[in-house]
Structure formats: C-alpha cells, structure tokens
C-alpha cells in the first residue's frame, strides 16, 4: 500500500513538472513579445532590449525556465505587468473567489446528482427516471453562459429575488475579515450572519450555472451504475436474507455504484476549481477565470504560467486523493 502511494506521488510530481515545461515552452514560442507590450508600440529598440534583458527574455528558454521554476518554488511567482502587482498578490485576491464558487458548484452538483440518481433508480419509476434523464440531457446540451443570462433575467431582472451580476457581495456589504478567504465561512466564523446570507445569495445563481453541466454528467454516470449494480445477483442474495429493499440498496448497491464514479467526480472537482471564464464574466465574478482571459490577451505570461501550473496541480492532487481513496474504500484495490 505504502509503495503504491509513493509510486503515485512520484508520478504526480513528474506530471506537474511535465505540465510546467510544456506550458512554459508554449508561451515562449507563441508569437508576440511581452516586452513590446510593456514599452509600448512606439518605444525605441534600445528600451525594448533593456526591458527584455530585465525580464530575462534574452536568455535561452532552458535558462529562463530554470530561473522561473526556482523562484516559483521559493514563492516568487513573478510580476504581472498587466496589473502592475506581483502575481501572488493578484492571485491572492482572485483565487479564493474562484475556489469558493467552484467548491459550492461541485457540492451542489454532487449532492443533487446523488439524490436524483437515487430517485430515478430506487424501485421502478419510469416517470421520475424520465424527468431526471431529461434534465441531464438539457444540462449537458445548454451553454452555461446562456443559462446564466437566462437565470439572471428571471431571478434578478424579472422577479428580483436574487442579486444581479455584482460579484461576491452587495456593494453595501464589506467583506468579512480574512481567515479562509471563503466569504461564507469567514462570515460565519465572525458571527456576521447578514454577510453570510448576502454571500450565499450571491453564490446561488453562479453555482447553479457552473454546476449544471457537471451535475448532468455525474447523474448520468451514477444512474447507469446504480441500474447495473441493482441488477447484480448479490442484491437479490442480500434480499433473500430478509434484508429490506431500502437497506439492501443503501448498504450494498450504493457503495458499489459509487466507486466507479469517484474518478469522474474528482475530475469534475478539479475542473470547477480552476474557474470558468464565461460564468465569471456573466456574473461579474472576480475570479481567476476572468483574470486569465484578460492576461492571455495582454500576453501577461507570468499570470498565465502560474494559472496553468496551479490548475495542473489541482488536477494531479485531486487525482492522487481519488486514487488513495480507492485504496481505502475498495478491498479489491487494497488487497491485491
């Protein structure tokens, strides 16, 4: 078991390094010169050269990469010329917004998927099953920004029951003191109930919009697995011992159906944590998704590079956790 974990860990670190190299080379190869963007289109060649020197762009790519990685590991993620602040500062304000939204979107998608899959498959219910399958179909085919706009139109513009696209909090609310950087949690930690409510109200529409596609994906997977497992002979055997339908379902069908969806759930979580450009734009959410789009357009490589590294890390870490979880939960993996 320990050997497997170490093997996986080594593999994970290698994967992150691989991602860093590929992204670094790509960003350097792409047309355009970041130095030119800083000095402006009319600046003389001499000042361009000096900025290039200052940024280390005159060095070979290998050397640039080495420098970048050493400082990255030391906590110096470079300077964002677009924002005029160090990348760490920019990320510190943007990342928590994306993480909080992604986390709640995942929670919503996952819990709803489990409940809907259960409703659709427990006993034989063709109508419920049809509704769930229809919803999943809708959720996978509808574009998120369109859905987001529609939701805003209805819940904000028409009925006025939820706040509009104004970010994480109302303009009148001040953010709670930072501990976790999640406004909902920080507000609760400081007993600021009204701030908490405000944060939650602002999260509802973006979280639903962001979570809709992952929900549809997960519910399809879970439903199919549950149907397969409940047809397994061992469920009938459990029932033949006298165990009731619900208990047999909860104790035996659910864990078995759940295992194969773990990997998918992990991928969905990693994807959601990396932020979403369109949804953040629609809801004016101050997250990394919006930041990265702007940075790509501005050729603000330090931000883009950091973002790629961080999301690669998120994917790898989530996958690692899923793999280890398998080992803990599934005896067939644990004892092999």
């Amino acid at each position: 078991m320990l050997r497997t974990v170490i093997n996986k860990l080594v593999g994970s670190v290698a994967a992150i390094f691989g991602a860093s190299i590929i992204s670094f080379v790509f960003l350097r190869v792409l047309p355009g010169n970041p130095a030119r963007l800083i000095v402006g289109p009319l600046a003389p060649a001499s000042s361009l050269l000096s900025v290039e020197k200052q940024m280390g762009l005159d060095q070979p790519v290998i050397v640039q990469y080495g420098r970048y990685m050493t400082s990255f590991l030391r906590g110096d993620w470079g300077f964002s010329y677009g924002a005029g602040v160090p990348v760490t500062t920019e990320m510190a304000s943007r990342l928590p917004a994306s993480l909080e939204l992604g986390f709640y979107a995942f929670l919503l998608a996952f819990v709803a998927a489990v409940i809907c899959a259960l409703l659709a498959t427990y006993r034989y219910r063709p109508v419920t099953d049809g509704v769930v399958r229809g919803t999943a179909f809708f959720g996978l085919s509808v574009p998120p920004f369109w859905f987001g706009l529609l939701a805003l139109l209805l819940f904000f513009a028409t009925w006025g029951i939820l706040p509009g696209p104004e970010g994480r909090l109302s303009t009148s609310t001040t953010p709670p003191p930072s501990i976790t950087h999640f406004y909902t949690i920080d507000a609760l930690l400081h007993g600021q109930l009204s701030t908490f409510v405000d944060a939650v109200r602002h999260l509802i529409l973006p979280a639903i919009t962001l979570g809709l596609a992952p929900f549809s994906y997960l519910v399809r997977l879970l439903r199919a697995n549950l149907l397969d497992v409940s047809r397994e002979p061992f469920i009938i055997v459990v029932r033949s011992k006298g165990i009731g339908r619900f208990l047999a379902f909860a104790r035996h069908a659910l864990p078995n159906a759940f295992l194969p969806t773990l990997t998918a759930a992990g991928l969905v979580l990693a994807q959601l944590l990396s932020g979403s450009v369109l949804v953040e734009k629609v809801f004016n959410w101050p997250g990394v998704g919006a930041l990265v789009t702007d940075s790509i357009l501005r050729q603000d490589n330090a931000i883009v590079q950091t973002f790629i590294l961080l999301s690669a890390t998120a994917y790898v870490v989530v996958n690692l956790v899923v793999d280890i979880l398998y080992g803990v939960i599934d005896p067939r993996v644990r004892i092999s």
């Binding site: 050997r3 497997t4 170490i6 093997n7 080594v10 593999g11």
Partner: protein
C-alpha cells in the same frame, strides 16, 4: 484405422523420440507459455511467473477430432491460442502441415492462417452485432483476398445453407438469432475459407442441452463432408467422450494423460483422469445411488516458480504421501500403445466411469 495408429505424442524431455508421423496435420512439441505479473511502477512490485502451459506435446492427425480437456486454468485455451499463433508461445514448436509456424514471417503466417480457423465459446459476444449474418460470413473472404464477387456470393450462401441458415435469414443481425443459430453462423464464418483445421473452443458450453445436440451433430456432419480436422477444447467430459477420437487431459499446464477415447474413458491410468470421471454425475439415478464418488480435496492453484515433484500430488489420492511423487516429476510415458500417462503409479486405481461403482 484406429486412433492409436494415427499419431503419437513425443515426450517433451526427449523430442524426436518418434519420427513425425506422415499423417499428422498438427504437431505441438514442448509448448510453454509463461506470464509475468507484477513488477510494474517505478519502485516495482513482486514479480511472479505463472506457467500457463508447461511443456505440452501432442499430434493431431488429419481428419480426427483431438480433445483437450481439463478444469478451468489448466491451460487448454492457451494451448489453442498458441496453436493458431494468436498469442506467441514462450517456448516450443508448432508445426502445421510440416511447417514450423515460429519460422514464418507475418505475411506467410497470415496466408497459412486461412487454413486454421477458430470457433469461440460465447455465441453472444463473438459476432459483431452491427453486421448481418451474410456479411459476417463474407468478411473473412475479403480479408484473405477473395475478390471475385460471384464466387464470394456462392461460397457464403453455400456455407450458410450448410449450417442451416435459410436465405431469408441471411440479412438479419445477430440479435435476431438464438444462441444455437449464432453458433452456426460462427461456424459458417470459420468454414468459409475452406480450412483444414478448426479449433473449437467450448463451442456448445453456452448452449441449452437440446441445442447442444443439434450443434454437435452439425459439427460431426460437416467434418465428414468437408474432411475437417478438429482441435476441440472442452471441459464437459461427457461431451468430450462423445465427440473426440483422441484426447489429452491437462492439469496445471501439463498433459497428465493422452490416449484414444475408449481406453481413456474405460481404463484411465492417471489418478487425475480417474477423479474427473468419478466426479461427473451420470443421468442414471440407480447407478448414482450405488456409486461411491472419489472426492478430491482442494483446488488447482497455479504455482509460481519451479514445481518439485508431481503437480497433482497435493490432491492425489494415490501419491499424496509418497516420496517419489514429492521428489520427481513423472514424465509422460507410453504405458500401452498410444496410451500415455504422466504418473509414477499409473493404473493403480479402480478406473473409468465405473470407478467406485461397486464399492459400497
């Protein structure tokens, strides 16, 4: 011509002991197939070598049905796949019609494969669900370069007719057929290239009793009409006994006993064969009530590394506690003309279907 005259196996330890018989279509010599498990990953795991087939030799004569019987895991299917070179043997020689398959290049092997076909066990998964019966049977002709349209049409229709699929059924897809019919289509696919050798890998195991008889009869009929040679992989001894001319009994990758059906089933020499026969319940209640079964304890578990002594010894009612069985592996020897057994005490038990019959 009795089966015993047709072809004989050569001992793995002394290859070339007997000259190859001129009539043998397939000769397998010292076939070995090992698999290595574990050892993956950066730090590596425990490496284990499993000997799926461990020195198997036999001859199959032209026109005969040679059976490979044994329990699951005895290596019978691996032997069949090695014979067709669907998987490459680790060691040993396979001669088909005098040609050593191992010496052939890719293209030559492909050409030769036209003469060796296989029918699989499961009629539900071995046919492409999107193809019609006609196109399933037609496909191999295209692969092997038969391009004349009229000839192809004629051969496919002839084959389907031969296995009892009517012209109006030809355009249906596999799901529209019953298990028996699908197995017939699989057979037509194998026979359309006019092969010499057909490997039948448990062709009736998935079928109902009443359908089994239909398919077995068809196989017999086709063999007589087309002069086919069968290598028949089977676990059901009653079917093996009914269908095969000669058989080899495999245990953990090695031949325990080899002979023609009558001697093998009437007077088996090996305790393992004997135990197998004793374990088969017969559709005869009075005899079953009289019969005292030999219950062999334990299970066949593939061993890793070198095996010392006889591989059946741990479960053997004869040699379990004997030193010679523990120390030396009995070679496969010809105990009677055409009847081979790998046992130090061959023939020391009451034998055959009657084993234990009168003991109570």
């Amino acid at each position: 011509m009795s089966a015993a005259e047709i072809g004989n196996p050569v001992q793995p330890v002394e290859p070339g002991l007997r000259a190859e018989h001129r009539d043998s279509l397939l000769a397998v010599r010292g076939l070995r197939k090992t698999y290595t498990t574990g050892g993956g990953g950066l730090l590596g795991g425990e490496r284990r070598t499993v000997r799926a087939v461990d020195g198997v030799s036999f001859d199959v004569a032209r026109g005969e049905t040679f059976g490979l019987v044994g329990e699951s895991g005895c290596g019978k299917s691996t032997v069949a796949r090695c014979v067709l070179h669907l998987i490459n043997p680790t060691e040993g020689e396979i001669r088909f019609d005098g040609v050593d398959l191992g010496s052939l290049g890719h293209d030559e092997l492909r050409k030769l494969r036209r003469r060796m076909q296989i029918v699989f066990q499961d009629p539900f998964t071995s046919l492409d669900p999107r193809m019609t019966a006609y196109s399933i049977v037609d496909e191999p002709l295209g692969i092997h370069g038969v391009h004349d349209r009229e000839e192809r049409e004629r051969r496919v229709e002839e084959m389907l007719d031969l296995v009892g699929i009517t012209p109006e059924q030809m355009d249906r897809r596999p799901f529209a057929f019953s298990g028996g019919q699908r197995q017939r289509i699989g057979l037509a696919r194998a026979l359309v290239l006019n092969p010499d050798l057909v490997v039948l890998d448990e062709p009736v195991s998935a079928l109902d009793v009443s359908i089994q008889a239909q398919v077995l009869n068809l196989l017999r009929d086709l063999q007589a009409r087309l002069g086919l040679t069968y290598l028949f992989i089977v676990h059901d001894l009653t079917i093996a006994e009914y269908f095969c001319d000669r058989l080899a009994v495999l245990y953990l990758g090695a031949v325990m006993e080899l002979g023609d059906r009558e001697t093998l089933f009437r007077a088996p020499l090996h305790p393992y064969t004997n135990a197998l026969l004793s374990a088969v319940p017969l559709p005869d209640p009075r005899r079953e009530r009289r019969r005292k079964r030999i219950i062999i304890k334990g299970e066949a578990s593939p061993q890793s590394g070198a095996v010392q002594g006889c591989r059946f010894r741990p479960r053997c009612p004869v040699g379990q506690d004997r030193d010679i069985c523990r120390q030396s592996e009995p070679p496969l020897q010809e105990k009677a003309p055409g009847h081979w057994a790998a046992c130090h005490f061959a023939g020391e038990l009451p034998t055959g279907w009657e084993a234990g019959a009168e003991k109570s």
